[in-house]
Amino acid sequence: MNYYVRKLAFYLVAIWAALTLNFIIPRLLPGNPVDILLAKFQQHGGIVDASTRKAYQLLLGGDTDTSLISQYVSYLRNVFRGDLGVSVSYFPARVTDVIATSLPWTIVLIGLATVLSTVIGVTLGAFVGWKPGTWLDSLVPATTLLSAVPYFWLALILVYFFGTKLHWLPVQGGYDVALDPGWSWPFVTSALKYAILPALTIVIASVGGWLLGMRNMMVSTLSEDYILTAQAKGLHEGRILRTYAARNAVLPSVAGFAISLGFVVGGSVVTEQVFSYPGIGSKLLTAVTNNDYALMQGLFLFITLSVLGANLVVDLLYGIIDPRTRARS
């Protein structure tokens, strides 16, 4: 019980830290974001009055009348009410609406790709660690090489081959723009087709890390006494591999999953840029180029919340699969 409570408390602290970061960053850095933003706002046809200025100053700083603390409190209140401002690059859409339309795309793509690369990497790593001295060993340096490759570079080369040269797979966008979005069969299949190449590049780039980590842990685990006991017990090889070796060796990978998730989400920004995929990452980049600070802040907040949420789930899961953690705390 204690373990779960502690984990929950930690994530609450992390969420608070993310919110505070969001509040502080625009105020710390040089430049006057509010003026730039309001200028753009007017360009797109918005009306600027005192209350609009006040609203943006709450998000981005520059307000010299009210104290920092009261600004902070108002900011937090707005966040919890769901008011994150109006986007300039997608005027007149609200920030929350922009996020709502693009978040599912990212979650599905990144979620699927991460799960795939984890499962493949861990499984292959288990086999490589279990039977050293076979051809599988060569997987280790091969996937390491792939991991050292700049992701977008690899992605672009694959795009060049599969898309431009061979025309096998679509390379831009999230779906066929001729179709109407919705839960229709043609749309879903189209979305899946457009997701193959981005997902493939993510899997290729990240599988190496999982494989190496799992293999190293397998090597360590195989020298433990309980493996010897299992062999002496005359158990089938498959059972020893799964229930005695892999089950123990995978634990640090699960613990480390949380860390790598942050990287994957970050990497999704690059993925979406390369493939013009309509997810949160590409919106973030559009926001940066258009000085759409409010949208930037809102997106960062949501990205962070998603990552924290996923981490929390994985950490709670870890408490279930490793019985020692519950006892330790």
């Binding site: 050292a148 990240s206 990287f263 690059v270 973030l284």
Partner: protein, 328 residues
Amino acid sequence: MTNLTPTTEPSVADAPEQLAAAEKSSPSGGRPRAGWRLMLPTMTPWLAIGLGLVCVIGLFGILGPFLVGDPTTIRNLGMAGPDGDFLLGTTQTGQDVLAQLAFATRGSLEIGLLVGVLATVLSAFFGIFGTYIGGFVDEAFSLFSNVILVIPGLPLVIVISGFVPPENRGLWTIAIVLALTSWAGSARVLRAQTLSLRTRDYVAAARVAGEPSWRVISVEILPNLLPVLASQFVFAVISAILGEAGLSFLGLGASNSSTLGTMLFYAQNGFALPLGAWWWFIPPGAVIALFGTGLALINFSIDEIINPKLKNARRYRKLAKASRKVAA
């Protein structure tokens, strides 16, 4: 993605009794490596390849710029393929790709090293020093590291870069931002190691003898942490180079410098690949990939020092293969 979780549960040297006893009792050879040599990795083909790659590319970055032409000269050639004059062809504005590559390699190496050092210093401070002191400081540092770790790095870097006006985005700014977002993972690994060392007998003995904290840290603890520190530093350099490349590719990189990332940015914007100018697009990425692979291979060998079971696994494999040949 690079090897992000190198041996997350590092265990201290405990070679299986059989091997140790066997090698000790062998008559003449099998001399155990004494003292400092124990810290050095054994030479394997992989390590040789890794060192080779790193040295070659390093030399290219350091000496290359002195040997090639001017990377910025614009000519009226357009995107020409490799030929006698230009070994790697030209960009869309007729600039020498090979010359650009040399300067870009130097730029990337600079930033990689800079961020690597900064990040390692930060992680050493929060990971080693904080843990050693113990008590509230330890708890606070640990919580701080974990929170930073959990907040996604690249989006944070993008947001910070986004708020900084482009004219202020110099090399140092980017380096600091990258370092600030990447030290947390290392700190956690170092903390785990320091925790296990803090309770060792020889550390307790030093403290009882009244040695000041800084002395205990530098004399008793740091030498044992060197392999892990080295591994984390190598890893920090890899991720710094990749991170900077990613940032530049997104258009958020250092505005006034030339790195492999900015080169790729220009290549992408110049439609190098779609127009078939592979000589412009492939080399920068390849240099990053090869350098990163070299560093990762070196890290393999350092991993073996940290976790001797990996070394034994490799030796067992060799012996198993040898004895299978003998038996056959």
